[in-house]
């Protein structure tokens, strides 16, 4: 095999993988629409006041969630960046947790803190104040801010970290007052990250499923994503499900194209913070305010975790972990998430390698460019065609041929796999580029091909990012409720599905215990995977 053949194989395999992913994402719908019989009546859907209300609510909750997350993240990021203290890195790491935590667990935690019988309500009631109402818009907003404020804060901190050291030195030497530092240094940095962060959060909130399902509280607070699920599982109205799905796809595609216009990566933001040193002095007011802001923000993010820990430990854990239903569900979740993560890593890496291989080709013709576009489309299409929509399409299609619920596990694994692709690509992609930039040419000239090239060129550089990506994919799949919500049955129960069932029958103690187990297993899985692949000295990121 020569290097050209190697390149061809890589491109071919990548395109094959990309086509597979695209076919899976769109297949269900394309067949349903073209095969006919199920075509939705768009006119009546567009005129339906309820559909309009859902559409409006989808945008409203996403807009407000984004606004609140960003507005709260800015003062927090500024304060955290100004302060230098030993726990700073730990806080940034803690702020990664909401991203890794299963959404359902987070939603439960938010109820424990902010619900009508939650910690805050109890405190308010003891002061003679009215209790909080968590169901509906307010609950959705609190939960979305809990998940997205930390993300925005991390993006802002890393934007501040990118400010050249000279700017901080100069501000210190000139003894600029903090308002001037903000105007000249901090704000321009924040401004560069703002559109990307806002667009990313808006995108995540538009397609939010679990939070709306659990905290929405009925038809008055339903999003398109949840309405698709309900059209299938509540009404069994396939035409409506397809129609709503297509409306949702158009909406997310529009949002994503706006996002991309801002030139920011919709799945970015995994940095752990640089080492910018600041020399500007804190004024007395700020010196007092900054720690307060950091403490309040940290409390907001950490308190739900503490709540889960406390209420989970109060549950009958020893009974739960020996209950066959729980063990079965955990084993199923483990199998599903490992299979999904393996599949996702394989497909993503193949696609990435093809993109790289195309890049080092001799000429960049139309064919190469369109191949590249196809490959890139495959990795981010899932952002437009959300998991519930993919599931709905396959659900309706498979129903015509086979027992849908028996085919469930395969669809859920595949859906979880494509869900993780955008994240894997963002983590592994840059490293692969780096590998080829560093040793690619040498490998070419040495004629390294096939397995040898993989082992000596790519693997050493990819090992760490791939482990991180794998861990993320596992966490994502392990905590996913979107796909399983459609395909779950009594023969196919994952841990989040079981948790939803227990929450449904208001066995709250069980739910709290399960949430704790789910959260702990997710974090443990991530730790094991990361540690399995990374040597000790690498871990201290």
């Amino acid at each position: 095999m020569n290097t050209r053949t190697d390149r061809r194989i890589r491109i071919g395999a990548g395109i094959g993988a990309a086509l597979l992913a695209i076919a899976f994402l769109l297949g269900g719908f394309v067949v349903l629409l073209t095969a006919g019989g199920q075509a939705p009546d768009f006119e009546s859907l567009a005129l339906d006041p309820y559909v309009r209300a859902i559409f409006g609510f989808t945008l409203l909750q996403a807009g407000l969630s984004t606004l609140l997350s960003v507005l709260l993240a800015i003062p927090f990021a500024l304060a955290l960046h100004r302060l230098r203290f030993p726990g700073r890195r730990l806080i940034l790491r803690l702020f990664l947790l909401p991203q890794a935590l299963p959404v359902l667990v987070g939603a439960l935690a938010v109820i424990t803190i902010w619900g009508r019988n939650g910690v805050v309500s109890e405190a308010m009631a003891s002061l003679g104040l009215p209790r909080l109402e968590i169901y509906g818009l307010s609950g959705i907003l609190v939960a979305h801010v809990f998940f997205n404020m930390p993300l925005a804060a991390r993006l802002f901190v890393s934007a501040l970290d990118r400010v050249p050291a000279e700017a901080w030195k100069l501000s210190g030497q000139l003894a600029l007052p903090s308002t001037t530092v903000f105007r000249l240094v901090e704000w321009p940095a924040l401004k560069s990250a703002l559109p990307g962060a806002a667009a990313l959060i808006f995108m995540l909130c538009v397609t939010s499923f679990t939070i709306v399902l659990v905290l929405g509280g009925g038809p008055a607070a339903t999003t398109l994503e949840v309405a698709v699920y309900q059209a299938l599982r509540y009404d069994f109205d396939p035409a409506r499900a397809i129609g709503l799905s297509l409306i949702q796809i158009v909406l997310t595609a529009a949002v994503l194209s706006v996002t991309l216009r801002f030139g920011r990566d919709p799945a970015g933001g995994f940095g752990l913070g640089g080492k910018a040193r600041r020399f500007d002095a804190a004024g007395p007011l700020r010196g007092l305010l900054d720690p307060l802001v950091v403490a309040a923000g940290t409390l907001f993010v950490v308190s739900p975790f503490v709540a889960i820990l406390v209420s989970g430990l109060a549950a009958d854990l020893s009974r739960l972990v020996t209950e066959p239903a729980v063990i079965d569900a955990a084993a199923t979740s483990l199998a599903v998430s490992l299979a999904a993560a393996c599949l996702s890593l394989l497909v993503s890496t193949l696609v990435l390698m093809a993109i790289e291989a195309l890049g080092r080709g001799p000429r960049q013709g139309v064919a190469a460019r369109s191949a590249r576009n196809l490959l890139e489309l495959a990795t981010s299409l899932v952002l437009v065609v959300s998991p519930v929509i993919v599931g709905a399409g396959w659900f309706l299609l498979l129903r015509g041929f086979t027992d849908v619920l028996a085919a469930g596990p395969y669809v859920v694994v595949a859906t979880n796999a494509v869900m993780a692709m955008p994240f894997i690509v963002r983590i592994v992609g840059p490293a692969l580029r780096e590998a080829n930039a560093g040793t690619g040419r040498l490998a070419e000239s040495l004629g390294l091909t096939g397995l040898a090239r993989l082992v000596f060129v790519e693997w050493p550089v990819l090992r760490r990012p791939m482990a991180l990506a794998f861990a993320f994919a596992i966490a994502l799949s392990f905590g996913d409720l979107g796909a399983i919500a459609l395909f779950g049955s009594n023969d196919f129960v994952t841990l989040p599905y079981l948790l939803l069932q227990r929450m449904g029958s208001y066995r709250t103690a069980d739910a709290a215990g399960l949430a704790l187990l789910l959260g702990l297993i997710t974090i443990a899985l991530m730790a094991i995977v990361e540690r399995g692949f990374i040597e000790r000295r690498d871990i201290a990121v």
Partner: protein, 345 residues
């Protein structure tokens, strides 16, 4: 090169993991069993530990030489949704927990078989006869309130609709639950074409809409909401099981909607005879005596003695029931009307 040993170390682990997955995920857990298993789809409060499920299972398994397996779904309407989803490949032998309102729609699926049970001896208000579905209990819908927080309970549907929006109620979703559907029909029976406007008036009072009765009642007993859509028989539960008269049902001057719960046998069931036996058992005296104090409903036999707590329940002078064929024809339209009224902001 240090890279090679590293990949050698991790590669087997990956391969092993993939192998475990392939076998673990795809293997069919079905184990050959000697005894036949009768699968009954029902709602979760029926199959729950505190519901009638466990007692009925124990009693029926004594004589049937089979395993009785209750599968608890969100609520009654969800059973029908699930059967439509699964189609003929369903594992269910019996669907238990639909209401008489849903019978024409259930029959239209073509998935049900004649029960072979003589229902003429069973007593149900307003009368009932069907050769496919067997009525096993009935109850009247009612709003149940907490006397500690609700000092002036609604005395009519009008009171409820025009009441203080600060005093919240919780109802069930008519797309998944039978009480939810029953309330939709109740509003329709009382208000007719004005129902949509009345739903809009009621909307501000609704704290949340739950998929099933269990969730709604859970919110109520946890003190999250002072009024819940349930049954006239619910207070008997609190009196007998908890010894408290704190929770009361509100009698409405317009009448209460009647909910007749029925069970039917799936046509493709391989255990048709066993299924028929179970239905006969279900309307027999033993099972009927279990239902009032576990499912908290009224029996369809006159020879069942009810505990004293049942004697001071709200008496229903005017049972309301919309003809099932009318329900079947209008259910989707009425549900959309409800969605539009309750979902509007």
């Amino acid at each position: 090169m240090p890279a090679l040993p590293r990949i050698r170390r991790t590669l087997p682990a990956i391969v092993a993991a993939a192998g475990i997955l392939a076998t673990g995920l795809l293997a069919d857990p079905a184990v050959a069993e000697e005894k036949p298993t009768l699968t009954v789809y029902t709602y979760d409060s029926f199959s729950a530990d505190w519901g009638p499920g466990p007692q009925l299972k124990a009693a029926f398994e004594k004589t049937c030489g089979c395993t009785l397996d209750f599968v608890g779904l969100e609520d009654g309407v969800a059973i029908l949704n699930r059967l439509k989803l699964e189609g003929p490949s369903t594992k269910a032998d019996i669907a238990l927990g639909l209401t008489s309102d849903l019978i024409p729609e259930a029959k239209a699926t073509g998935m049900f078989a004649k029960s072979g049970i003589d229902t003429s001896g069973l007593t149900v208000p307003t009368g009932f006869s069907d050769d496919v579905f067997v009525p096993y209990d009935y109850s009247y819908l009612a709003f149940v309130y907490d006397t500690e927080t609700v000092k002036t309970p609604p005395k009519s549907l009008d009171d409820l609709v025009s009441g203080d929006p600060g005093q919240k109620i919780v109802i069930e979703d008519p797309r998944t639950s039978t009480p939810g559907l029953g309330f939709l029909l109740w509003m329709k029976a009382v208000y007719g074409d004005e129902a949509a406007a009345k739903w809009k008036a009621l909307q501000p009072r609704i704290l949340t809409v739950t998929p099933g009765w269990s969730e709604a009642y859970g919110l109520f007993t946890k003190g999250e909401v002072p009024i819940v859509l349930s049954y006239t028989t619910s207070p008997a539960y609190h009196e007998i099981e908890e010894g408290t008269e704190r929770y009361k049902a509100a009698g409405f001057s317009e009448g209460q909607y009647l909910q007749i719960e029925v069970a039917g046998i799936l046509k493709d069931s391989p255990h048709a005879e066993l299924a028929s036996e179970f239905l006969a058992f279900l309307v027999g005296k033993d099972a009927q005596s279990v239902l009032p104090t576990t499912n908290w409903t009224l029996p369809v036999r006159g020879d069942v003695e009810l505990p004293a707590a049942f004697s001071h329940l709200v008496t229903v002078a005017k049972p309301l029931l919309i003809d099932a064929d009318t329900v079947a024809k209008n259910r989707r339209a009425w549900t959309n009307e409800w969605l539009q009224a309750v979902g509007a902001r």
